[in-house]
């Protein structure tokens, strides 16, 4: 392609290049089309188990076990959902999940914003050490602490309580790191102007720094809530009573006494996943932003 040295070569190129480019573009499109179709096909395969779960939950129990592929129910029924909602403890589990996940979310955000603001904007002894410790523990292996969390919380009789489920989930150094980074990038002018007007640090935090980073608070709130709702290991260990179980644990621990009822099991599972799925579908952009931030990619 470096035939630009002589005039004749350049002329030749002017003639040949468009043709060659066209041919190249044509193969490009064919290859591109194949890749696109393949991607869409794989995406359909990927979504199929979810689709199949939903479809099965809408079938009457006798249709579920019929032979042959029924990709759509012959009779759509909500029986399985009615059963899940009124004959199991799922309502109670929903409340348990909601209370503990909301507590985790609110407390993690308050602690994260407070500590993030102090480390970002204030000078105090131990600031460097604290920041270093937070950075060092940003991927704390909580699973390795289950034994000692259990011992600690049972000493305070917090096993089988909402508080016991909530407490170990409050360790979230990542939230502090993200808040600190975002508070760092708030222009100093805002701070100086507000300080001249006589604002104290709490007013600065709640009137300037948090509102300016409202988006990041939303993103962190959603992702913290989803993580708490989905958490399995700790709620599973901390709760043995059906009354206090989270929905993610409850649906795996309680079985029908008389044989497997597939549609009912799936309806219960879908109800358990519905709140987080809806949250994701509404706040897609925020969820992806928060995930990238927690992975260390500023997006």
């Amino acid at each position: 392609m470096s035939a630009v040295s002589t005039p004749t070569g350049a002329d030749l190129d002017a003639l040949v290049l468009p043709q060659r480019r066209q041919r190249w573009l044509r193969t490009f499109d064919l290859a591109g089309l194949i890749v696109t179709l393949l991607t869409v096909f794989v995406a359909i395969l990927w979504a199929f188990p979810l689709y199949w779960g939903v479809v099965t939950s809408l079938k009457p129990e006798n249709e579920v076990v019929q032979s042959g592929l029924q990709l759509w129910p012959q009779h759509v029924t909500l029986d399985a959902y009615v059963h899940a909602l009124f004959e199991t403890k799922i309502g109670l589990w929903y409340i348990n999940s909601l209370v503990t996940s909301l507590s985790v979310t609110v407390l993690v955000l308050i602690m994260g914003a407070g500590a993030g603001y102090a480390i970002s904007q204030l000078r105090f002894p131990g600031r460097k050490v604290l920041w270093w410790m937070i950075l060092a523990s940003f991927m704390v292996p909580i699973q390795a602490l289950i034994v000692n969390h259990f011992i600690l919380l049972s000493q305070f009789h917090l096993i089988n309580t909402w508080v016991g489920v909530t407490l170990p989930q409050l360790i979230a150094p990542v939230t502090v790191i993200i808040y600190k980074q975002f508070f760092d990038s708030v222009p100093k002018d805002f701070r100086e102007a507000a300080v001249i007007d006589g604002a104290n640090d709490f007013q600065l935090l709640f009137r300037i720094y948090l509102p300016m980073n409202w988006g990041i608070t939303t993103a962190l709130a959603i992702i913290t809530f989803i993580a708490a709702w989905n958490n399995f290991l700790w709620p599973f260990l901390a709760v043995t009573s059906e009354q206090v179980m989270n929905v993610s644990v409850g649906i795996t621990q309680v079985f029908d006494a008389f044989g497997v009822k597939y549609a009912r099991d799936l309806a219960t599972a879908i109800l358990a996943g519905l709140p987080v799925a809806v949250l994701y579908l509404i706040f897609q952009r925020r969820v992806t932003q928060a995930i990238m931030l927690s992975a260390g990619i500023k997006g």
Binding site: G114, L145, N148, A272, L281
Partner: protein
């Protein structure tokens, strides 16, 4: 001036107090306690006597420990590399799409990741159900008509749970790769195609080197995550009925909560803790070197 400095300090302490308290009581203290407990023969609840390194010797002599280590490593191998490669391939495909199609396709890959593990467990138990599972049609094609109880066949257990885990988590990797791909300027590709570089050459010379840091990041995140595996393995094994498919966290669970030996549980916890810290430090170094460029 001096007064305002003291006020600033006081404010700072009030603001960091909740975090520091939680961090001290629920992280530093349990970690220290775990070290201490690993040198005793204490039950889960209650005190024990100092036994030196006895627990460590017992753990390393225990055949179930080697099973747990091997199963964990096996699971890590079966999930980390496939989910990273698949994540990159899917991201390359999704990145070509535009607008609504792209959001829809991305959602198809990402939605499973957002669901609780128990929902994933329920859906795939049904997919693979021995009598009526739809996946048995595929299995029958290989076995010549016989249905297979996948999760009760030990050689099939880890690969199928790993497969389900990849299905569940790959959306996360796809997301990180798409972010990485978007950071590569389109001008580089335009320049390359003007120079007549083939699509494969473009991938090998531009995309792959520039996406490499993200690949390393994804792999270390997945590695740390999968070392801590418990939920799916426990659930699909019907509450860990067999020791053949035990993983490390499950081994901790067994000692502490099923055999009521807090000291042994703490010992294994400490070992797992150390392994994960090593990999986390590695990851932190990688992230820092990325941040400095």
């Amino acid at each position: 001036m001096l007064k305002s400095k003291r006020a600033e300090m006081l404010t700072a302490f009030v603001l960091i107090a909740p975090f520091v308290l939680v961090y001290a009581v629920l992280f530093v203290y349990p970690t220290a306690k775990m070290v201490q407990l690993s040198f005793t023969n204490a039950p889960l609840i209650g005190d024990g006597d100092f036994v030196g390194f006895d627990n460590y010797i017992r753990v390393f002599k225990d055949r179930l420990f080697s099973t747990a280590v091997w199963d964990t490593v096996y699971f890590v191998l079966l999930t980390v590399i496939p989910s990273t490669l698949l994540g990159l391939l899917i991201a390359l495909g999704v990145n070509r799409l535009k607008g609504f199609t792209q959001s829809l396709v991305l959602a198809a890959f990402f939605l499973p990741y957002i669901l609780p593990v128990s929902v994933v467990y329920r859906i795939w138990s049904w997919m693979f159900d021995k009598q009526f599972g739809i996946a048995q049609y595929v299995i029958s094609a290989f076995t010549g008509g016989t249905h297979v109880a996948v999760f009760r066949t030990i050689p099939l257990f880890m690969p199928s749970v790993a497969f389900i885990t990849v299905w569940w988590l790959v959306g996360f990797n796809v997301l990180l790769f798409i972010a990485g791909l978007r950071n590569i300027s389109t001008e580089i590709y335009e320049a390359a195609s003007l120079d007549g570089a083939s699509r494969f050459a473009q991938f090998r010379r531009i995309t792959w080197p520039l996406i490499w840091p993200v690949t390393v990041l994804v792999m270390t995140i997945q590695l740390i995550l999968q070392l801590k595996i418990f939920d799916q393995v426990y659930l699909f094994a019907n509450g860990g009925r067999t020791d053949a498919t035990i993983v490390l966290v499950q081994y901790i669970y067994k000692w502490a909560f099923q055999k009521n030996q807090g000291g042994m549980g703490a010992t294994v916890s400490l070992l797992l803790f150390a392994i994960i810290i090593i990999f986390s430090v590695l990851q932190y170094q990688l992230l820092r070197s990325r941040g400095e460029k």
